[in-house]
C-alpha cells in the first residue's frame, strides 16, 4: 500500500514509451478513449459526437498499427485519450478558447483533445460549418505525435481546409505516422485475386480482378494501382463474402482454363464453390454438386486441413500445401499427380541457400498484377521465380524461391482496426 503511488506512476509511464518504430509515442497497441460526460457539445447529439470520434480513431487505425477502443466504464486514469468540448476557459485547460472563429481545437501529445464549442461543428453528412470528423482526425494526429505539416492534402495542416468530398488520410500522412509507429504487420489466412466477368455500360463483356487479403474474420480489398487498401477497409468477412465461414478460410483457388471457371474456398476438411456472378457460395452448382463438400471427395488424395493452395495456369494443376509438403492435383484428370507429395523445398528450391519458408505456409498466391507466385509466412513473403525473371536471368532455377522481403514493404497499410469498430 505504501508504494501505491509509485505503481500508479509506473503504470502510466509504461504507456508512454518507445513505439515499435523506436520513436517516442504510445507503446500500447490498444488505446482507450472517452468523450467526457462534462464535455459534450451542445450542437450535435451525443451519439453523433461519439460516432464521429469512433470513425476518426478508426481512420488512424486503418493506416498504423494502433487500435482505439471507446471505454465508457474504466477508471479515468486508465483512459489514454479524453475528449471534450468547451468554450472560453474549459475543462481545467491552461489554454482558453477564443470563441467562434480562429482556434477550433487543440490537443496534447499522448493525451487529451479539446474542441471549441463556439465553433459550428458539423457531422460528416452536415452542410456548412467545420467538419468535426476532419478536426478530430487532425487532433488525433497530434495525440499520436504528428506536428503541423504545411503540405497541400495533409490532414495535419494547421488551418482548416473545407472539404467538398469525403477526405482520407493521404499517402504522405500515412508514411509520417508509420515513421513514428512502424508499418502494419501480421499473418494472413489467404490472399487471392478474385476474377469476374462484368459487362460495360455498352454491353461488352470484360474480365476484371481485384486483390483481396483475408485475416481471420475480416478482409481488405487491395488497390494495386494506389498501393493501399480500399478506403474504409477492413470489412467483416460475412459482409462481403456470403456463405463462406465467417471466421476465415485456409485457401482460395480459382480454376480457370478454357473449359472450367470455378472458384473454391477451403476451410478445415471442407470446401465451397463460390458463384462469382451472384456473389455467394453455391448450395448446388450446375453439375448438381452440393456444397460444402469434403476435400477428400472433391480432390481425392489431398489431405485436409491444408495450409494453403493455388492454381497454376501453366500446367493446369492445383498445388496444395500442408506442413512441409506440397501436393499437385491435375484438374483435367481429377487426380493427384504421381510422385507427390514432395518436399516444398524440393519443388520450390531456394535461390539463396537458407532463405526459404520451408513449410507451414500461410499463403500461396498467384498475382495477376505481378504475374508471379508469392509465398507468405508470418510477416515475410518470398516471390517464386517467374518466366520473366528467368528470361532476365536464365541461371535462376525453375520455380526457385527468391529471398524474402517484408510483406508491408510490398503491400502497404493493411492494418487491423479494433473489433468494436469493425462494423462501421
Amino acid at each position: 500500500r505504501k508504494r501505491f503511488l509509485e505503481t500508479l506512476l509506473l503504470r502510466k509511464r509504461r504507456r508512454r514509451d518507445l513505439t515499435g518504430a523506436g520513436q517516442v509515442g504510445f507503446s500500447k497497441k490498444v488505446l482507450k478513449w472517452r468523450l467526457m460526460g462534462e464535455g459534450y457539445s451542445s450542437q450535435l447529439s451525443i451519439d453523433e459526437q461519439r460516432y464521429v470520434f469512433k470513425l476518426a480513431f478508426r481512420m488512424w487505425s486503418e493506416v498504423c498499427p494502433v487500435e482505439f477502443e471507446e471505454d465508457l466504464t474504466s477508471p479515468l486514469f486508465e483512459i489514454d485519450v479524453r475528449l471534450g468540448f468547451g468554450t472560453g476557459r474549459h475543462l481545467g485547460c491552461a489554454q482558453s478558447f477564443d470563441g467562434a472563429g480562429r482556434e477550433f481545437a487543440h490537443a496534447w501529445f499522448l493525451g487529451d483533445i479539446h474542441f471549441d464549442d463556439d465553433e459550428h461543428f458539423t457531422a460528416p453528412s452536415g452542410g456548412n460549418g467545420i467538419s468535426l470528423l476532419k478536426v478530430a482526425v487532425h487532433e488525433i494526429g497530434h495525440v499520436l505525435g504528428l506536428p503541423h505539416i504545411y503540405r497541400g492534402g495533409s490532414i495535419m495542416q494547421p488551418s482548416y481546409v473545407p472539404q467538398d468530398s469525403a477526405f482520407e488520410i493521404d499517402w504522405m500522412d500515412r508514411k509520417a505516422i508509420q515513421q513514428l509507429y512502424g508499418g502494419c504487420k501480421g499473418r494472413f489466412n489467404t490472399v487471392f485475386d478474385w476474377v469476374r466477368k462484368e459487362r460495360t455500360p455498352y454491353g461488352e463483356l470484360v474480365i476484371r480482378f481485384n486483390t483481396y487479403f483475408i485475416r481471420d474474420s475480416w478482409y481488405w480489398l487491395y488497390e494495386n494501382r494506389s498501393n493501399r487498401t480500399r478506403y474504409g477497409d477492413p470489412i467483416a468477412l460475412q459482409v462481403g463474402w456470403h456463405g463462406i465461414p465467417s471466421d476465415g478460410v485456409d485457401a482460395y483457388v480459382h480454376v480457370w482454363d478454357w473449359r472450367t471457371d470455378a472458384a473454391y474456398f477451403f476451410k478445415g476438411t471442407q470446401y465451397w464453390r463460390y458463384d462469382s456472378e451472384n456473389d455467394q457460395v453455391y448450395t448446388q452448382d450446375s453439375e448438381g454438386q452440393r456444397y460444402p463438400r469434403l476435400i477428400s471427395e472433391g480432390f481425392p488424395g489431398i489431405p485436409s486441413p491444408i495450409n494453403t493452395a493455388f492454381y497454376n495456369r501453366r500446367d493446369s494443376r492445383i498445388y496444395f500445401f500442408k506442413d512441409l509438403h506440397v501436393y499437385s492435383f491435375d484438374v483435367r484428370t481429377n487426380k493427384k499427380v504421381n510422385g507427390f507429395p514432395m518436399r516444398i523445398t524440393d519443388v520450390f528450391p531456394a535461390v539463396v541457400p537458407g532463405d526459404h519458408p520451408i513449410g507451414n505456409l500461410d499463403v500461396a498466391y498467384f498475382s495477376y498484377t505481378h504475374n508471379s507466385i508469392f509465398f507468405l509466412k508470418g510477416s515475410h513473403f518470398w516471390k517464386v521465380v517467374s518466366s520473366q525473371d528467368r528470361r532476365q536471368n536464365p541461371s535462376l532455377p525453375y520455380n526457385g524461391v527468391l529471398p524474402r522481403k517484408d510483406i508491408d514493404s510490398h503491400w502497404f497499410d493493411i492494418c487491423n482496426v479494433h473489433m468494436s469498430t469493425l462494423k462501421m
Binding site: A100, G101, W108, Y160
Partner: protein, 181 residues
Amino acid sequence: ERIFHIRDHSDVLIPASHQAELIIDKGSAQQFLLKYGFMRPGSWEESQSDTALVPAAASTAPFDMTPLIQEGDSGSRAGKESASKDPAENPTFISALRDFQEVSGLRVTGVLDDATKAAMNKPRCGVPDKALDSNVTATANATDTRLNQTLFISTTAAGATRGLDSTHSRDGPTGSLGPER
C-alpha cells in the same frame, strides 16, 4: 445550418463575447506569431528589454510551457505594453512574418498585408506550428502527473517535428526521456 428553435435565430446567434478577436493590426499579429511558435518568447522579450516576463500566449499554450514561466496572464499584459512600440520595425517580427507567409503559401513580403491577415484569421488548430527552442527538452524529465503532461508533450512534439519536416527542425532532443525525475 445550425439547428434553431426561435424564429429570429437568437438561440443560435453567437454573442459578440464569444467571437474570436480578429487579427487586424500588428500587435494581434505579433501575438499570433508568438502563440504558434513563429517567434520565440525570449527573442521577443530581448527586443523589449524592460520586460522580464513571457507573454500569456506562450505561457498558457498547452504545448510549450516551461517550469521557468511563472504567471501566464501577466505576460499578456506585457504583450499589450510592448505593442506600444511598433513591432513592424522589429526585425524578429518581420522575419517571423515572412516565415509565416512562406509556410502559408503567401507572397513573402514581411508586411502584414490583407492576405496575411486573412490567413491568420482562418479557423485553425491551437497547437503551435513550430516547436520552440530545445531547452524545453531539458524539462522533459519533469514529474509525469497529468497536470504536468503539457511539459512532457511539448518536448516530444518538438522531437516529432524534427523527424518529419526538416524546415521546422531544431536540434534533436538531448536524449534520455526516461523516467528520471
